[in-house]
Structure formats: structure tokens, C-alpha cells
């Protein structure tokens, strides 16, 4: 692999960043696929622990007042997720297909998808802040016991009395944090890059930033972009894993069953609507 970033000499003789090395795209792609294989292999052959069904039976018997289906994602939240997913996949396809040799006029579709992503994320921030349970998706020091228990469960050992997650399992929350950081970075840099292309929205003017700042902007955009390659591979992989399909179905249909709710969540941390 060559240098991680590309440099060029500006008309003023300065060495300026241009963009990341596209080798990093291949690294993210291969890394994501290797993770997929490694995790899939581990899950196939390991002692990964599934919660005892008799324990779930007891929990279900104790909470018969719960409805058969419990709403996990409202319609608006699901719409946001799928709009964001569509825009993200469009952004990745339009960004990276030309790099792998599939040539087409990608710039227009890329910035259009970027606007869709930006609008959907802005909406999500408002919706999550004022309508959803804002703090349910965040992680903090209080989640360390849950993290330990999750690790032990993956290693085949149940930790008696270990906390269960609220609405979002730890994996969901960690993924959200990664997507938040990478997403806000690509959005912020992408908005700046609108001044480099003809959109009809802002007047093209590459001189609003210095060459050095533009270089950083392109490198950050590229790094986060290739980061999303790995993140999206992981996301789709987990969404399709048999033991996670109930989560995926909830993102499509909105609800989980009472049994799934009690098996995977702490009813005191995520109080179900009755």
C-alpha cells in the first residue's frame, strides 16, 4: 500500500493535501469482509451463549400484562432510518464505483444524496431530541457492567445478575456513536465541498478556504467515507444474522414480540407502551 494520503504542489509552490489514497477504500472493504468472516466463523463454532429459554419463560409468566407486540420504532423513526440508509448507500455507490472502474456521471447523484442525508439527519436530531427518548441511545461509564456481561456471554459464560440493555443493546449504541461521528464529519465536509461543484444552490468558489484547509476537508471526507464502507458492511451483516433478525424486523414492521422484549431488554430501563 502506498501513502495514506495524496499530496500535490500548489501554484504557489506549497505542498498541499489532495485526498486520501484510494488504497484505503480497498483496505476498508477487505477489512469489513474479513471481520464478517471472522465473526461469522466465531459465531458458528464458539460457545456463544443464548439466554436459557426457561428463564425467558419465567420472565414472560411474570409479566403477562404486557401486550403481545411492543412498539420498538415508530413509523417516523423507521422512515428516517430507511431514508438515511438509501441516501448512505447511494453516497457509497456513487463515491466508490468510479474508483473501482465503473465510470458514470456520479457527482450529481452524490451531492443530491448528500443533501438527502443531511436533511434526514437534521430531522433526526430534532425528532430524537424532542420526541424520542434522547438518552436511550448514548453510552457512558454506567454501561461498563453491561459491556462486560456482553463480552462474557460471547465467550460462553453467563454473568448472574448482569444488567440487560434498555431500548438499545450495547452494539446498537456503539454503532450509533460511530455513525454519528463519521456521519457528522462527512456531512460537514460535504457541505463545504458543495462550493467546489456546480449545484445551483451556492455559487461555485473554491477560494472560500485555503488550499491547506481544503486538503484537510477532502481527507476527512475521504477517511470517513471509507470508514462507512466498513460500518455499512458490519451493519448489513448484523442485520442479516439469524439471531438479530428480530431487530431487523422491528425496523421494518416497528414491533418486537413480548418474548423478544423480555429476552433482550430490561423492562425497567425500557418501559414498553401498553
Amino acid at each position: 500500500m502506498g501513502n495514506l494520503v495524496s499530496w500535490a504542489r500548489s501554484p504557489w509552490g506549497e505542498s498541499v493535501l489532495i485526498h486520501i489514497s484510494w488504497d484505503l477504500f480497498w483496505a476498508a472493504l477487505v477489512g469489513g469482509l474479513l471481520f464478517l468472516l471472522a465473526h461469522g466463523g466465531y459465531m458458528l463454532f464458539s460457545q456463544h451463549h443464548k439466554r436459557d429459554s426457561s428463564e425467558v419463560d419465567r420472565l414472560e409468566a411474570a409479566r403477562k400484562g404486557l401486550p403481545a407486540n411492543i412498539t420498538r420504532h415508530g413509523f417516523v423513526a423507521r422512515m428516517f432510518h430507511w431514508v438515511m440508509a438509501f441516501s448512505m448507500l447511494t453516497l457509497l455507490v456513487t463515491a466508490f464505483l468510479p474508483i473501482v472502474g465503473v465510470k458514470f456521471a456520479w457527482v450529481y447523484w452524490h451531492w443530491m444524496a448528500g443533501i438527502l442525508l443531511t436533511a434526514s439527519v437534521m430531522f433526526h436530531i430534532v425528532h430524537a431530541t424532542f420526541v424520542l427518548d434522547f438518552w436511550s441511545i448514548w453510552i457512558g461509564p454506567k454501561d461498563i457492567p453491561e459491556f462486560k456481561a456482553e463480552m462474557m456471554r460471547d465467550l460462553g459464560q453467563e454473568t448472574p445478575g448482569a444488567p440487560k440493555p434498555g431500548k438499545y443493546p450495547l452494539g446498537n449504541r456503539l454503532y450509533h456513536l460511530a455513525v454519528l461521528v463519521a456521519g457528522l464529519a462527512v456531512i460537514a465536509t460535504g457541505i463545504l465541498m458543495m462550493w467546489r461543484v456546480r449545484t445551483g444552490i451556492v455559487e461555485r468558489n473554491p477560494y472560500i478556504l485555503t488550499d491547506a484547509t481544503w486538503g484537510i476537508t477532502y481527507v476527512v471526507h475521504g477517511l470517513m467515507g471509507v470508514g462507512f464502507v466498513g460500518l455499512v458492511i458490519a451493519h448489513i451483516y448484523f442485520a442479516l444474522r439469524p439471531e438479530k433478525l428480530w431487530v431487523t424486523k422491528a425496523m421494518i414492521f416497528g414491533t418486537v414480540t413480548r418474548r423478544e422484549y423480555l429476552e433482550h431488554h430490561d423492562p425497567d430501563r425500557w418501559v414498553a407502551d401498553k
Binding site: 489532495i18 485526498h19 456521471a105 457527482v107 467546489r196 461543484v197 461555485r204
Partner: protein, 337 residues
Amino acid sequence: MPPIRDVMPAFELFQPANVGDALGILDRHGADAWVMAGGMDTFDWLKDRIRKPKVVVDLGNVTELRGIKDAAGGLEIGAMTTLTSVANDPLVKERFPMLAAAALIVASPQIRNQGTVGGNVSQDARCWYYRAGWPCYRAGGNICYADTPTSINREHAIFNADRCVAVNPSDTAPALIALDAEFVIKRGSAERVLPAREFFVGPGIDITKLTVLKPGDLLTAIRIPATWAGKAHYFEKVRDRQVWDFALVNIAASLNMSGTTISEARLVVNGVAAEPYRLDAVEAAIKGKPRDKATADLAADLAVQGAVPLRHNAYKIPLVKALVKRAIRGEAEWATS
């Protein structure tokens, strides 16, 4: 422009004697190899020391790439045929006078004696920001120096600019597209034949190239079908200096007339986009119409729809309109009917 130096960077020079050897060398050296036809574009790059290829493949000795021959009423022109040969060839002048006119008006006599038709259609953009070696989009960077609030962009694109606003500088390219020519490209033992229009590529598709040629590819011939032989042709080039200059705008048109009615047309302008800009909407609109002022006015208005001028090149819009009008009315030195 950077200072032109006398001493070029060192490279390994190959002078193959036939196409097979040339393809073998290109295959062996891939992206390290630079194909040189007449050298009119190449020596600028090398003497400016902007391009530093490891290998130069000079096609000057490949005689099989030279010459013009009849092909079922059309013509096959070897890619290394000089522009002078194309301009003076009796068959070209008889069947496709527009192409002869386009070749005759390229640059200067000395350049036409050395420059080839293959080189003329394959030459790189002449945007001086790009040719100066600055890290623009076309050079693999992330900026277009020609499209900023302070750029000098009088010669640049008014159509289909996608980040880069460089234009295709060729005079023969629009003529060949207007004649429905096909370009023969060889690569190793494989051969592919592309419609002339598909030989060129815009910045939306590939911002670093003007043609679809990849490392290892060799343009060997240009085939012109008999379709437009003997039809009404028109070519006109507008440039700053009449003795020797690239086109500000040029136009090539082929019209098939049924009596006084246009039954089929091809109109292509160059110097306005990164690829020769075929006026599809105009061609459709004038089909079945008389070749008169009203049709010319309609065509002129249609021709410039979608044009987006830069700071200094808005003049190209009325220029394109005027050329389209003249092409349809057949009012120029190179009109054949």
C-alpha cells in the same frame, strides 16, 4: 505557461515498425508508456516537464497506420495519416469535403505536415491551468482553477462542465462525429470499434481524460461509412488568429436533403465542452423542415439551451447560435451545398 525547456526528461524510446510490436510494447509497459503520434501534443508535455513517462512509443515508423483507402464507398483512414494528407486526399475531398476542410484548418502547415488525424482526435485539453501542471481536477487534484470568480476562462466550456471546464480542442473530431465515423482501437490481440461519439468522454464520467483510451490501447484507424458521402456538408471554425489557433468554437454539420427538406442531420460543435458536443435536440427538431431562415433560427435557439457561461466566455453562446444558423443555411466557404 511554464518555461519550455530544451532538454526533456529521460525516457526509454521505442520505435516499433508494426502494429503488433507497438501493441506488445504498450501491453508490457502499461501505464508507464506514452503513445506518440505526430508529437504535436506530446512535446509540449515533455518539454514543459509536466509529464514524465518512463517509456515513449513513437509510432512514426508504423507505416501500416498511414494511408487512406476506399471502404465500400466510405473510407478507412489510418490513425497516423497526417492532417495534410487527409486535407489533400482526393477521395476525402470528393466524399467528405467537411473532413478535408477541418483537417486543412488545423493549426499551421508545418503542424499539419507532422500532426496526424489520430493525434488530433486524441490530443489532451489545452486549458492553461491544466497544462501549467497545477493540481486541478483533470490532473488528479481537487480544484478547477479555470472556474473561480477570478479565473481567465474565455476559451472554456459552456456545456456539460462537471467540476472541470476544459474543452476538447480538436477540429477533426466534430467532423468525424458528424459523419458517423467509427474508431478502431486495438489492445493486445483484441479489437473494438466505437462510434466516434463514444470515443470521447466528459468530466462527469472521467475527469482526467478526454477519450476512452486506456493504457495499452492503440487507436489504429478511423472508418467513415458511405452514409454521408456526397451529402450536404458544412464546417466552420472561429478562432482568434486566422493563421494558427485552436478553435474558440467550431461546427461540423451533415445534412441529408430530400428536395428542399432536411431528412436527416448531424450537427456537432467543439470548443464548448470537454467532449465534442452533438446537438441532438437540434437534429431532431430540424428533421422534416426546410433548409431556411426559420429552421435556422429555431435550431440556433435550441442549440444553446442548457449553456452555462463562465465569467469570460458568454460570447460563445451567440457564437454557437450564429454558427448553427450558418450551418443550416449553408453560408460559408466550406459549405458544399
